[in-house]
Amino acid sequence: MSLAWFARRLLLMIYTVVVVSMLVFAITQILPADAAQSLLGENATPEMLAALRAKLGLGDPAWQQYLHWAGRIFSGDFGISMRTSRPVGPDMLTALSRSLLLAVASIVVTLIVAVPLGVIAALRQGRLADTGVSLIAYLGVSLPEFVTATLLALLLADTLHWLPATGYVSPLENFGDGISHLALPVLTISVILIAHVMRMMRSETLDVLRSDYIRAARLKGLPERSVLFRHALRNALLPVVTIIALDVGYLLGGIIVIEEIFAIPGIGRALMVAITARDLPSIQAGALIMAATYAVTNTLADLAYAVLDPRIRYD
């Protein structure tokens, strides 16, 4: 891997994080006509307002406020929550770890289900299995997370009583209980991701199966199984890396809704609570951590792609 390519990719990631931090700061603190007023609500006394304005440095020019804020964040200080009066950073990181568990579990389930289904749909193009898979995929991408989540909870928790409806138990403390509490949220996220990955997997496999080297492999007289597994699948699987990375962006948005519905104390729920309570430092930290996670994941995916497919580096 050429060093220049690597350095360029890393620079892009840093640029992304900087732009995101500017945006988050601008939307939350500069855009409101009076951030202090909107934080404290209508019942604030003039003294309280003045004190908070001074504390936030609202009198300073915007760029000065930003640099001050960014400097603090860069040194790892995310500020004190206005709701709990506790430092925001450690609380957000704990929440993030729970969300990551949810995300990783969902991606694993997605890969296990979606890749074989996509390949089967491609192999039986135009037949019943293909139509079935396409219909399910359509339904999966046409239902918002909150609908999928609510319908699954209605079926699996309220009607069949197979799974607990809400709540979170750490799998480290009680493995069985932890998994059963994670099952519904993971299932909800997976339904949507599966629809997405399945569609991509199908069209990638179709593309690869039409390529010259597959025809060559067949003409060489290789058994169909070997053509499929050793030649076609390897190449069709490559773009899945990119798709999963792009889906992380979707996943981060979806997690806000899903954690809210299933009462999981992850970063999405922390963000929703912060937004409802107008807890500025928590909103800023939550949004920044989420977007940074996306930027880092995409960089890692690009690196992984470059390792797996050397052609990409010469572009």
Binding site: T28, S142, T150, L252, I256, N298
Partner: protein, 276 residues
């Protein structure tokens, strides 16, 4: 135009998409006139009445007719998503075409920044904006439009880059036309087709995003019978009256599917060779 329409409805997905959309359009236009009951009509004897002769889709916790609420609620859901998508697409298209026109390092800088903005997930961006602008349907529309613009800019720019090298654009530059003229009169009309396809598919995301914002309590406000809001209300009573939940969910899904089908159908109709 007529030829395109015929090609569109000749495929099953295009036909189903067009039919569903016609149904949705009629509901949006005449919903309040066609609804069997007034959407706010409270009937305490009919609380949680199951679907049947009286209330075709059942009644909610106040005995309000769910079908009537859905039909009236179409107005506070679908047009909002359309407006948000239109506004977002327009802004994105202008940025994308402008970036392609300027080219070189400026194009590079604009697109890198655009990609960076896209690192903020759509729902997160919309939530941040609404929490700043204040809750409500109008602000939710603005937030969705802003959240959509960078994605549209990226799509448009990739198409516009090819247009930029066409002879008629070079000719316009050579005869000394201004940037505004070239961007709006020469380039934009020629990137319309892909933009229309992409926007159509995005309307389904906008419907879902708008319903999600209302569901989370920051979009449309009660007593509006916006569909996401109806799901949020019905969740408390989902064991007693699951129909209250299923009906608006189905309405959201059908609308999203309709726009998805239309978008896919349009893509097939405009590029007949691509059989995927």
């Amino acid at each position: 135009m007529t030829e395109l329409f015929i090609r569109l409805i000749r495929r099953p997905q295009g036909l189903v998409g067009v039919a569903l959309l016609a149904l949705i359009a009629v509901t949006c236009l005449f919903g309040p006139a066609l609804a069997p009951y007034a959407p706010e009509k409270i009937d305490f004897l009919g609380r949680f009445r199951s679907p049947g002769w009286h209330n075709w889709l059942g009644a909610d916790e106040f005995g309000r007719d769910i079908l009537s609420r859905l039909m009236v609620g179409a107005r506070s859901t679908v047009p909002m998503a359309l407006i948000a998508t239109l506004a977002g697409s327009a802004v994105g298209a202008i940025v994308g075409v402008g970036s392609a026109y300027l080219g070189g390092r400026i194009d590079e800088a604009i697109m890198r920044t655009n990609d960076a903005v896209m690192a903020i997930p759509g729902l997160l961006m919309a939530l941040l904006l609404v929490s700043t602008l204040g809750n409500g349907a109008g602000n939710a529309v603005i937030a969705i439009a802003i959240a959509f613009a960078p994605g549209m800019a990226r799509v448009t720019r990739s198409v516009a880059l090819n247009i930029r090298n066409q002879d008629y654009v070079k000719a316009a530059i050579a005869r000394g036309e201004g940037a505004t003229w070239i961007i709006f009169r020469e380039m934009l009309p020629n990137v319309m087709a892909p933009i229309v396809i992409e926007s159509t598919i995005r309307v389904s995301f906008a419907v879902m995003l708008f319903a999600t914002l209302s569901f989370l309590g920051v979009g449309a406000q009660p007593p509006a019978s916006e569909w996401g809001l109806m799901v949020a209300d019905a969740r408390q009573y989902m064991y007693q009256a699951p129909w209250g939940l299923i009906a608006p969910s189905a309405a959201i899904a059908l609308t999203a599917i309709a726009f998805n089908l239309l978008g896919d159908g349009l893509r097939d109709a405009l590029n007949p060779r691509d059989e995927r």
